[in-house]
Amino acid sequence: MKNKIDYNSDWNLDPAPESTGHINLKSKYDLFIGGKWVKPKSEKYFATINPATEQKIADIAEAGQADVDAAVKAAKKAYDTVWSKLSGKERGKYIYRIARLIQEKAREFSVIESLDSGKVIRESRDIDIPLAAAHFFYYAGWSDKLEYAFPNRQPKSLGVAAQITPWNFPMLMIAWKIAPALAAGNTVVLKPAETTSLTALKLAEVIQEAGLPDGVVNIVTGYGKTGAMMVEHKDVAKVAFTGSTGVGKIIMKAIAGTNKKSTMELGGKAANIIFEDAPLDQAVEGIINGIYFNQGHVCCAGSRLFVQESVYEVVIRKLKDRMESLYVGDPMDKNTDIGAINSKKQLDVINNYIKIGKAEGAEIYQPKCKTPKKGFWCKPTLFTNVAQSNRIAQEEIFGPVLAIQTFRTVDEVITKANNTPYGLSAGVWTDKGSKIFNLTSQLKAGVVWANTYNKFDPTSPFGGYKESGHGREGGLHGLEPYLKFD
């Protein structure tokens, strides 16, 4: 190609950093139990760092058994004495307050989210935080309308919900968990992921400010051990987890034989399928967004790309060109496309898969971009010449790594796409409507994007088939896992 832009020579934009001023962060965070900040009985704290700089941001309490007991006790008391007695209408008004307060403090939440998680400010500002607020706003309105959602079924709340959220969309996943739980009339003990606790702790401040009755939402921080204590607690009626399929299975084993209800939102290895009649430029944009959005730390990431053979070469060329124009670096810069990998641990996982991909004989491509010296970084990566049996095509990598395969016929690609134990999401790109509906109805996945990808909305149910989990979050269907029926 002539006249191709060399993005590494004459394409340097001036820095456009979002200011990190005007945010309120403490240097040390205790646990939020029964409406108050309490020191952990475990007396332990751990550091949370900025993955883009490796600098410590704050110390976070690590909840032990006594702390978890106290949190569940507070949630149970709040359920028994206050929350279950409150009318749906009044519950809803509290949740609306939370939504409004998040909107008022949206900038602060966005900046903190990007500092703590490494995600780019463009995404936390335009997607994570607004959607989190929207989730609370949406579910607030359901609080006094549950009998219309489930006619003839007398919906009732469950009690205390133990909720464990991941580090990829910290605040958004918390909203997905807490909003429907409260709307359905439950109380909550929530544990955010250990690398991204800060927005959860800021939410605790919002909850205090909203005047929510003490103990209705309790936020305990810590590692997996703390989560296990929550899951196993006898006074917990409901477990909601978003995370890896491996951990989801451990949790399901732990609650086997009990009456605890569960929602599991687990891993994925989504197929993103491009047909020769697709609008290719849009499709390439969709592939980029599908796999490199949030550094690929997305359970529904379009990590397996299937390209119809007739357009393979042009799609790969366009993809590589587009990858060259991606900015990798400072998450706080408004121009950055790909931020920092969330943790050293996750970077090691991703790098190991890249090594495996090469060893399996797949061909790697990474753009020439530079990455900062400090912090955890991974260039957007794609693999071609990938076989269906390769581990990079089978296992969830949870990073910016795309495995590309080709196909000739519709039936072939459906078989290949469904040949996975996962079933969270899928994407289809074609201009032909009947082909879209053939694909979307045959792909075994809970969310299917046609000519778009990675779109989310509070009104839209999200969740997996097969080993990607069970239960739905979002929409009317997302209420059901927090209710019981006669």
Binding site: V447, A450, D457, P461
Partner: protein, 293 residues
Amino acid sequence: MSRIEVLKTYKIYIGGKFPRTESGRYYQPKANGKLLGNICLSSRKDFRNATVAARSAQGGWAAKSAYNRSQILYRIAEILEGRRTQFIEELIQQGSKKPQAEKEVNLSIDRLIYFAGWCDKYTQIFSSVNPVASSHFNFSVPEPTGVVAILAPEESGLLGLVSQIAPTIAGGNTCVVLASENIPLCSITLAEVLSTSDVPGGVINILTGNRKELIPHFSAHMDVNALVYCGNNSSEIKIIHEAAVDNLKRVILRDSGSYISDKYESPHLISSLQEIKTTWHPVEKIGAAGSGY
């Protein structure tokens, strides 16, 4: 000389065929002190064969039009109606009183009709069009979970069985069922009804045998998507929950109780064996903000 009665060999039902168990084993349940027969003591291998049959039938069954599935369920009821006497006699043989047996058969037929009617309606009840804030058309519909293993109620050999099978297949799933261990006769006679009712082979597979022996296999099989357990034995439930984790199969607990109750007539028996699929598609809005892909 009086006529010598022809006795029936009870078989199992896999992929539309009637084999005896591959294991060659049998057991001898009794009622009122009398032997009911040499009933197949199905093995793990029988269960695996049945699951293969259910899997290969599932795509085709789910792809049938809802109207067609509805007619096939209705057809089962028609054929069952024609064989009322045989079922009543079997129920009596298994220890029921005549009025009770008649009621059970009548209700079983009516229940099939009930679920036949749901086949082309539950999708409308459980679907939604979701008003997303972006310029997309977004809708959610139920889809069958896939292959369902059913541990049918022990105490209700016909009505209980029909009450579990009907909502499962109405929803486009296929199933492998373990019939009541002690009163198994109607389950196999029902299989004869199914095989003459336009139900494709493999959509419903029926085994007889020992619950305790088969529970671990039913729960652990990696190509079973959901397991329905009818009963209330807490140690069995624990075994099922633990084994089901390996492929995260959905476990649906249904307490045994009186199947006469109309709580077994509910579309939620269908929806509990469905997955919700959400589809997004852009809506073009030329000249308006928020357009795009």
